[in-house]
């Protein structure tokens, strides 16, 4: 009889622990769920997750906030690529390659960093997301422009693809706000 009671008690305790731990999972911020839900609606789930989670602000951000984080990632990625392009320009290059590299500088410096990124940030912060839609879409196009400028022998394929993917993910998140 005592054994039975003991086992019942153990079971009840187990139940309580299980229940409260599953309750705890629901009481914590829902934002892991938000990040996943959002990223599922982008064309590159893994890139989206890793980009967003690398920024601690994503834990408490709303969708507009997540879009801003992604635009920030676009900014950083483009800046790094520009640094790489500059280092390539410092090495001696064939004329066509040099021209294409300079063209890419225009795409990224003028197109993405000076225009697309600030416009997208302002649009998202001020609640007029359609301009961020255009901005991030344009950023993806600028990366295509850069890549095609090499007519097949691009030294920047990895970087351009990366920027393109980041821009497309950012654009998908922005579209959720429209």
């Amino acid at each position: 009889m005592r054994t039975l009671v003991f086992i019942v008690l153990v079971h009840v305790v187990f139940q309580i622990i299980f229940l409260s731990s599953s309750q705890c999972a629901r009481l914590s911020p829902n934002d892991d769920n938000l990040i996943e839900q959002t990223c599922k609606q982008t064309p590159n789930y893994n890139l989206c997750i890793s980009s967003l989670k690398s920024d601690p602000k994503s834990a408490t951000a709303d969708v507009a906030g997540l879009a801003l984080i992604m635009v920030n990632v676009l900014n950083t990625t483009t800046t790094q690529t520009l640094i790489h392009i500059n280092s390539l320009l410092l090495q001696s290059q064939r004329n066509e390659v040099k021209e294409a590299l300079l063209s890419c500088v225009e795409n990224y410096k003028t197109g993405v960093l000076t225009a697309d990124v600030p416009v997208s940030i302002e649009a998202l912060t001020k609640g007029n997301p359609k301009f961020a839609d255009q901005g991030t879409q344009d950023a993806a196009n600028e990366s295509n422009s850069c890549e095609e400028g090499f007519s097949g022998n691009s030294p920047l394929t990895v970087e351009n693809t990366n920027i393109n993917n980041v821009a497309k993910v950012a654009n998908a998140i922005v579209k959720l706000l429209l």
């Binding site: 079971h11 139940q15 225009e106 001020k126 429209l178």
Partner: protein, 652 residues
């Protein structure tokens, strides 16, 4: 034990059961019970756990509704931004609803080489007789009005660059809607309630001559609020200086409306209960809505309980416009007019597809309700099948007409906009009238003052264009043109052409290269001599399974430029053509803007074209007929257009 019957418990022959044996015989039975009991508890535990996780999953999609768990929850779930469970993309409503396919494709997929734009190509793109500031970015038209002999035009402007941002109100005046004079900025972002943007608004001219401007401000906390402004000096006909009401904002987002979904107030109208009313677009979840507010003094407001209109799955409604059109008279109506001879137009700009839609209906000013003529119209039909957004009308009491402005953005790359130092133009102002012949759409037509820009004209009478041919038109120059053209197909071809059940839409076609029996035919604008660059603007007639002819008009940008970083889509839409009507179109070509007005303005298409070769003296104009069967006969009148010489105002 003695033998017992296998399925019965009849007592043993030798008396009632004896007292149970020693303890070790008892334990196995208790052990069994224990195991069963534990098993049951474990099962119960498992069931509860599953129920909770399933409930959890459902909760993330629906409103919280979980009776079992509520008692156990210490706090309720925080409900932050609700993510819709499906992506919020606009669903195509199909050609039959007058909506062309939405396409996210701006460029020709991956071949977007950044074109080496040079200054010659870029400076050619500036228009000669369309409104645009001297430089930088412009978007929505704001507060258009006629006042003391002057047409006023305000607009969203970025004083700091060729992209959207730092928005303030630009200002210009004209006596004829064509020759504009730039004035100083009317309003800048200098108050906490508009420090993050002096956004779109509308003017109301009161019967006593006062002018009231309602506009949206983005506050220091990025909340969208409505503000009141008025001219500093009503005796200044140019209305150069503006004052913001000291007690702004006059309206905050109401309960249930998101702080980022409350913008673009309309012109107010006066109703028989002695109140002024205005409308403003918003949304609740994914349903776009129009709110209405009442006021007597434009300082304090009451919100109407109901909604003037709403349509599910359309997203945020921007730049709402609401105005009367006469059912009979060929003239415009003051915004406050109502009555039996009047229909009201309910217009919206859709944030999620950047297109403008309108629907016709009946407004009851006593109950503030508007009912669409066609209950299935949804969001409505498009004003313009090309680039045309954030449009706004005003009543011109001088010429008794309603005039429509529309923002025409760029369709090239941001990089090119930065390089050329400006972005966006306004469409040529259009009069708006109800199409009394069809009763179900509006007619839009360039204001008559455009005709005053016509210089030399050339007529071409009954030019025959056989199937599969191109005819050059010998004109002096081809970048600033006003073209009026009529087309007739040979009746034989119309009758003998086989029926087809393939549904046609400009956006899903292969452009002018897609040959049908009865189309495409029309003009090639901004084309060079070798036709390496060309922009076909054309009719396409499809014969349906019922033998009826359906007419479309398209503008094909796919070969408009050798540059690959510009929009290459095919824009266009359905054209209602009544019995015995000839096919007609008016085209305004002004450098990088081409506007088409078909069948007297039943269907309009605005396009931005960026050639690299077909510019300046190299631009040509052709007739073409790429149909397989029909011969087309065309009569045209083509005028060279003068510049409007838009420049800054200089006091004498």
């Amino acid at each position: 034990m003695e033998d017992t019957l296998p399925c019965s418990y009849s007592p043993l022959p030798n008396g009632p059961p004896t007292i149970e044996g020693p303890l070790d015989k008892r334990r196995p039975r208790k052990k069994a019970t224990l195991i069963i009991f534990s098993g049951l508890l474990l099962l119960l535990l498992l069931a509860l756990f599953v129920a909770i996780t399933v409930g959890d999953y459902r909760n993330s999609h629906n409103v919280h509704e979980n009776e079992n768990d509520e008692a156990l929850l210490a706090t309720s779930e925080p409900s932050s931004v609700s993510i819709p469970s499906e992506p919020v993309h606009s669903v195509s409503r199909g050609v039959s609803a007058g909506v062309s396919e939405k396409s996210n494709r701006v460029f020709a997929d991956h071949n977007a080489i950044s074109y080496p734009w040079n200054n010659s190509m870029l400076s050619w793109q500036r228009t000669s007789f369309h409104f645009q500031p001297e430089k930088n970015w412009m978007n929505d038209p704001n507060g258009p009005m006629f006042y003391k002999g002057w047409y006023h035009f305000f607009y969203q402007y970025n004083p700091n660059g060729a992209v959207w941002g730092d928005i303030v109100w630009g200002h210009a005046v004209s006596t004829d809607l064509i020759h504009w004079l730039h004035l100083p900025l009317a309003m800048v972002a200098d108050q906490w309630y508009d420090i993050n943007g002096v956004w779109t608004g509308s003017a109301t001219v009161l019967p006593n001559g006062e002018v009231v401007m309602l506009y949206t401000g983005s506050t220091n906390e990025s909340v969208q609020v409505q503000n009141l402004a008025y001219p500093a000096n009503l005796s200044d006909p140019l209305l150069i200086d503006w004052v913001k009401y000291s007690d702004n904002p006059v309206l905050l987002p109401p309960p249930g409306i998101n702080k980022n979904d409350f913008r673009d107030p309309t012109t107010a109208w006066y109703t028989s209960d002695g109140k002024w009313k205005f409308a403003i677009g918003s949304r609740v979840n994914t349903t776009g809505i129009t709110l209405v507010y009442h006021t007597k003094d434009f300082k304090s407001y009451e919100r109407l309980d109901g909604l003037l209109h709403s349509v599910p799955d359309t997203g945020m409604w921007e730049c709402v416009d609401f105005y009367p059109v006469s059912k009979t008279a060929g003239k415009g109506l003051d915004t406050s007019v109502t009555g039996p001879g009047v229909k009201h137009v309910m217009k919206t700009s859709l944030d999620n597809d950047r297109q403008d839609y309108y629907a016709l209906g009946i407004y009851d000013e006593k109950t503030d309700t508007w009912v669409p003529d066609n209950p299935n119209i949804g969001i409505g039909i498009r004003y313009d099948y090309g680039i045309f957004y954030a449009s706004k009308t005003f009543y011109d009491e001088q010429k008794e007409r309603r005039v429509l402005w529309g923002w025409i953005g760029e369709s090239d790359s941001e990089f090119a906009d930065m390089k050329k130092g400006w972005a966006s133009v306004q469409g040529i102002p259009r009069t708006v009238l109800l199409d009394t012949k069809t009763g179900s759409n509006l007619l839009q037509w360039p204001v008559e003052e455009v005709d005053s820009l016509r210089l030399s004209g050339k007529e071409f009478d009954k030019v025959e264009v056989k199937a599969g041919s191109v005819v050059p038109l010998d004109i002096v120059s081809a970048t600033q043109l006003d073209i009026v053209a009529e087309f007739e197909l040979d009746k034989e071809a119309l009758e003998r052409t086989a029926q087809s059940n393939v549904e046609f839409s400009c956006g899903n076609s292969r452009g002018a290269a897609q040959r049908g029996a009865l189309g495409p035919f029309g003009l090639l604008v901004l084309a060079d001599e070798s036709l390496s660059e060309q922009t076909p603007v054309y009719f396409y007639i499809a014969k349906g399974t019922d033998g009826n002819l359906t007419t479309f008009f398209c503008v094909d940008q796919s070969r408009s430029s050798e540059a690959t970083d510009v929009n290459k889509q095919i824009h266009g839409g359905y054209v209602p053509v009544l019995k015995d009507e000839k096919l007609s179109v008016r085209l305004l070509v002004d450098h990088s803007i081409v506007e088409s007005f078909v069948q007297g303005g039943r269907t309009c298409i605005t396009s931005r074209i960026y050639p690299t070769k077909a510019i300046y003296g190299a631009a040509r104009l052709f007739l073409f007929n790429n149909a397989t069967e029909a011969t087309v006969t065309t009569s045209l009148k083509i005028w060279q257009m003068n510049s409007a010489f838009i420049h800054p105002f200089r006091a004498k």
